[in-house]
Symmetry: C2
Subunit: 554 residues, 2 copies
C-alpha cells in the first residue's frame, strides 16, 4: 500500500510497557512527535536511574521533525525532553503548566536557553505545512492536560493522551467532550486511547469526593497534618490547601519536586493559596501543631523522599510529633507496595496516626475506567482504533472493549513499539518496523550502561565477586607474588578463612602446574584459574561469584 | 512481677513482619514452640534464598524445649523446620497433612530418620508435665489447619494461627467454633489472633464460590485449561479437579511443589481424584486439548516456575497451544505484582487467553476479614489480647478493633519480636527482651551472609566494581608491574577506554608519588589509590563503584 499520501503512526515507546511514551506521526516531509517520556527502571536494571527512548529513527529523519507536542506534564510524558532535545533540538508545544514544569527540567540541565518552547492553550491549533495539531482539553490527575487531534489530509487522528472524565473538576475546566463529539460526527480516521484502567469496571470517582474525605479527616485532626501525594497533582494539592485554610492551618511544602511544582503552579495561577497562608519548612516551629499542614513528597515510599526521612528520623528539619496525622494520598505504583508499607509501619511504630487507601478514599486514579472509555469510543466511533498506554494485557482488553462496542477486529491495531501503522483514506495496515529501544541513564552516563554491564551487576548482586591476583616472572616460569584472593559480597571474612585458604592453595597448584608445563599465555592461565575456582566454590557453597583472575607479568 | 508460676510468651519471629512465624511459651521447666516458619528475602537481601529465625534463645534453653507444635503446612509456619531441627532436635506435632508436607522437606534435607514427628488430629490434647496443648480445627487456605490452645496452670492461651471462617469448606470440616466458644465461656487468659486482613471490612467470600466461578469458566473452555495456584491450597485443587471431571478432562500436575504436595494430599486422602483421571505431563499429548487440565505452580510469576517457563517458551514439555485458557487462581503477594504481570502479558502476547483476579473472582484470601475477627473476639472475650501475624500496621489496627469491641487498651499487648510478655493470673506485662534475629540462607550457607556482605552486594549492584592492581618492589621503591584496572558492572568497555586510560595514569602518578616519598606501607598506598580513584570517577561519571586496590610486593 505504499503511497506518498499515506500517514504513518510509529510508537517509539510506551506500547506494551508503562511509561516512556513517545509516538511519531508522519505525512510526506513532516514528522511530529507526541510526548517524550521516561520510564523508571525495573528491579533487574541495577543502578539505572531512568530509562529514555532510543530515538535513532527520529535522528535519521531529523530534517523532517517539526516539533514535539506534549499532552501533559507527567514524567512518563515529558521526562526525556532534556535528553532528547540535546540530540534533536526541535520546537516543543504544550500548555502553560506543562511547559512550566518542562522549563524547570531544562533549567536543571542548563539547556533552557537553547530550546524553543511554544505555549498553547486548549483549543489552539498549530498549523504546519500539511498537518494541523489541535490541543483539546481533557481531565487527568494533573492540571492543564490535553488530548491531541492531528488533522491530516486523509483524515483526523485523535490521541486521547492520559485522561479520565471528571464532570466536576477542581478548576472547573471540564473535558471538551463537545469538540470530541464534533470530531466524531465529522469522521475520525484513527482513535488512539488510554488503556491503563481498561480492566476496571464502572467510572472513576470524581477528584472532588477526595476533597470531601480530606475535609472530614482535617476536621478531626488534633495535631499537624502531613499529606504525601504526587507533586504534579495540583488539584489534589488545591483540595489539601482548601481543607487546611478552612481549619485555620498554614501550609508548608516539603521535598524538592513538591517545592518546585507548587511554586510553578502558584506562579502560573493553577494553585490558589490565600495571602499569608504558606510558610516555609523552617517556620513550622513558630506555629502550634494544630495550625500546620505539610504537603510532602514520598507517597511512593521512596527511601530518600521527605516522608521516608521523617518516618526514619533522618529528616534534618522535620521530626514526628505527638498527634501527627499522616495521609498517603496516592496508590502505590506496581512494585512500590512494599516501600510504602515500610514507611506506614514505621510511622505507626513511632506513634503517629496514618491514613491510606486501604482505610479511606484518599486517592482516585487519573485514568478512565471502562464506562468512560465506552463514552469516548461512542462519541468518536473512529474508522480505526489503536489502544495505547498500558501493558500488553491492557491493550488486549481495550481491543476487546472496542469490539464489544461494535468495531470489527480487523480495524483494530494492537501495535508493538517500533511497528509502523500506515493509513490511507481506504485502508490501514502494519507495514514495517523501525529501530527502537531503551537507553539507560546512570549518573552522568547516557547509554554507557547496557546489557553486559547489567548482567554483571545482577551477577555481583546475587553472589558477589572474588579477585585472584598473582605476579609471575615469564622468564623463570615462576610465581613471584601471590596468589592473593580478595572477595566482596561473597561470604563473611571470619566465616570464610578456611575456605579462602583452601581456595588459594588450589589456585597456586593450578598456576604451578601450568608454569611447570611452560604454559605462560595469560588467557590460558586465567581461564584455568577461573575454572578450578568456580568448581571448588560451587561445590563448597553452591554459589557462583564473579571470578576475576588477574595475572601480572614481569 | 517475677514469679515462677508466671507464663511467658516470647515471639521469636513473625511480629511486625510477614512470615518467619515462631513463638515460644514458657512455664517453669517447660518451653513449647508454636510454628517454625521462614520468610522470603526482601529486595535488599541480594542473593539470599530464604530467611530463618535466630533461635539462640531456644538453644540456650534447649533442655526445657519439649516440642514444636505446628498449626498448618504453609512455608511461613513450617519452612525453617529442616534448619532448626538440625540445631535443636525436639518432637514435632501436627496434623496428618501438615506433617506429610513436613516429611517431604525433611527427606530433601536427609534428616527425616533423625526427627520425631507426632501426628495429631484436631481435637487432640497433648499432655506435657504442666502444659496441655490442644489442637482445634480451623479453616484456612490449606487443609487440616488448626488453632492451638495452651492450657497452663494459670489459664488458657488461645493462638488462632492463620485462619478464616468458612461455613461451607470443601472438605466439610468447619472451624470448631463450639470449642472456641466453650473455651471463652470458661475464661481465656490470652488470645493471640491473625491480623493479616484486619484492614479489610466485611467477611471473606467462601472458597466454594471460587469453585462456582471456575466451573462456569471451565464450561466455556475450548482448549486446555491451565490453572496456576498455590501448591498447598488442596481445596482449590479439589475444586479445579471437580470442574475438570465434570467437563471430561484429565488432570496433570506440573511444577515440583505441585507434584509433591498433590501426591501427599492424594496419599493421605485430602485430595480426591476419581480413578484414571490423573495423567502425567508426558501423557498430555495423547489427549485432545479440550480434555486436558493442567494444575501448575507459578501463580506468583516466579521466573523459574512451570507457568513462567510455559509463557516464555522455556518449558521442556509444555508449549502454548491454540485456545489455551490460563487461570491465575491467586493474588500476587506484595512485591510480586510486576512478575505476575510479566507472565500475564507474555501469555496474551503468545495468543493465549488469561483470566486473573482483576477480571473474575478466581481467588479468595485465607485470612479472616474484620467481621470474622470480631466473631472470634466476641466468642473468646479474653482477659488479654495480643495481635499476631501481620506487619506493624496490621497489629495496630487489630488492637484498635479489639478496643472497639470493648477491650481496654491496657490489656492489649502489641509486641515486637523478642519481647517477653509475662502473665500471672492477676496481671500481664512486658518484662524483657531476648535475643532474636534473621539468619540468611544462601546456597549451602546458613548464616554466613550478613549485613556487610549484603551491603557490598547492594553497592556492587548499584555501580559495579573496579579492581586496581600493581606489583611493587619494596627495596627499590619502584613499580614493577601495573597498575592494571579491571572493571565489572561499571561501564561498557568500549565506552570507557579513555576513562580507564586516564584512571590508570592517575593511579600510577599517585603510586609513584608515594614511592618517591618512601611511603611503602601497603595500607597507605591502597588508601591513597582508592581515594584518588573515587574522586576521579565520581567527577567523571557520578558513580561510586566499589574500588578494590591490590598491591603485591616482592
Amino acid at each position: 500500500m505504499k503511497n506518498e499520501n499515506n500517514v504513518k503512526v510509529i510508537p517509539l515507546g510506551g506500547l506494551g510497557e508503562i511509561g516512556k511514551n513517545i509516538t511519531a506521526f508522519e505525512y510526506k516531509n513532516e514528522i511530529i512527535v507526541i510526548d517524550c517520556g521516561i520510564s523508571f527502571p525495573d528491579e533487574e536494571m541495577y543502578g539505572v536511574d531512568l530509562v529514555i527512548p532510543d530515538i535513532t529513527y527520529l535522528l535519521n529523519n531529523s530534517d523532517r521533525v517539526k516539533g514535539i507536542f506534549i499532552t501533559h506534564g507527567h514524567e512518563d510524558h515529558i521526562g526525556s525532553l532534556p535528553y532528547i532535545l540535546k540530540q534533536l533540538n526541535v520546537p516543543v508545544y504544550g500548555t502553560r503548566l506543562t511547559l512550566g514544569i518542562v522549563e524547570n527540567k531544562l533549567k536543571e540541565h542548563n539547556i533552557l536557553s537553547d530550546c524553543e518552547l511554544n505555549k498553547v492553550e486548549a483549543g489552539d491549533i498549530i498549523e504546519l505545512e500539511n498537518l494541523k495539531v489541535e490541543f483539546i482539553r481533557n481531565t487527568h490527575s494533573i492540571a492543564d492536560s490535553c488530548s491531541i487531534a492531528i488533522h491530516t489530509p486523509i483524515g483526523v487522528i485523535l490521541h486521547t493522551g492520559d485522561f479520565k472524565i471528571d464532570y466536576t473538576p477542581i478548576d472547573g475546566l471540564v473535558m471538551d467532550l463537545e469538540r470530541i463529539s464534533n470530531l466524531g460526527r465529522n469522521g475520525v480516521l484513527l482513535l488512539m486511547a488510554d488503556s491503563t484502567n481498561v480492566e476496571r469496571p464502572g467510572h472513576t470517582i470524581p477528584e472532588r469526593s477526595i476533597g470531601e474525605t480530606l475535609t472530614r479527616i482535617f476536621s478531626n485532626a488534633k495535631g499537624r497534618v502531613i499529606v504525601a501525594t504526587f507533586a504534579s497533582n495540583i488539584h489534589r494539592m488545591q483540595q489539601i490547601v482548601n481543607a487546611s485554610v478552612k481549619y485555620g492551618r498554614k501550609i508548608a511544602f516539603s521535598g524538592r519536586s513538591m517545592e518546585n511544582i507548587s511554586e510553578v503552579a502558584m506562579d502560573l495561577g493553577y494553585l490558589h493559596i490565600p495571602e499569608g497562608k504558606t510558610i516555609s519548612v523552617d517556620e513550622i516551629q513558630s506555629y502550634p501543631n494544630e495550625q500546620v499542614t505539610i504537603i510532602t513528597t514520598g507517597s511512593q515510599g521512596e527511601p530518600m523522599s521527605a516522608l521516608a526521612r521523617i518516618a526514619f528520623s533522618t529528616h534534618r528539619k522535620l521530626k514526628i510529633e505527638p498527634k501527627d496525622l499522616y495521609i498517603i494520598s496516592a496508590s502505590p505504583i506496581p512494585g512500590n507496595g512494599k516501600l510504602v508499607s515500610k514507611v506506614i509501619n514505621q510511622l505507626f511504630k513511632r506513634g503517629a496516626d496514618v491514613i491510606y487507601e486501604a482505610l479511606e478514599e484518599v486517592h482516585v486514579s487519573g485514568h478512565a475506567y471502562q464506562e468512560e472509555l465506552k463514552l469516548i469510543h461512542t462519541l468518536v466511533h473512529p474508522k480505526y482504533f489503536m489502544p495505547v498506554h498500558g501493558e500488553y494485557r491492557h491493550l488486549r482488553h481495550h481491543s476487546e472493549l472496542a469490539q464489544k462496542l461494535g468495531m470489527e477486529e480487523k480495524n483494530i491495531f494492537n501495535l508493538e513499539t517500533g511497528q509502523v501503522l500506515e493509513l490511507s483514506d481506504k485502508e490501514a495496515m502494519i507495514t514495517g518496523r523501525v529501530h527502537t529501544g531503551s537507553v539507560y541513564v546512570d549518573g552522568f552516563g547516557v547509554g554507557d550502561v547496557g546489557n553486559i554491564v547489567l548482567r554483571d551487576r545482577k551477577h555481583l548482586a546475587q553472589d558477589g565477586m572474588l579477585t585472584i591476583v598473582a605476579t609471575i616472572e615469564k622468564e623463570s616460569y615462576s610465581i613471584i607474588a601471590g596468589p592473593d584472593i580478595i572477595t566482596r559480597g561473597f561470604v563473611y571474612a571470619k566465616e570464610s578463612e578456611a575456605l579462602i585458604k583452601e581456595a588459594k592453595d588450589i589456585v597456586r597448584k593450578e598456576l604451578e602446574d601450568c608454569l611447570e608445563n611452560k604454559v605462560i599465555e595469560w588467557y590460558v592461565l586465567k581461564a584455568n584459574m577461573k575454572k578450578s575456582m568456580e568448581k571448588y566454590l560451587y561445590e563448597k557453597t553452591k554459589r557462583r561469584p564473579i571470578i576475576l583472575p588477574i595475572i601480572m607479568e614481569i
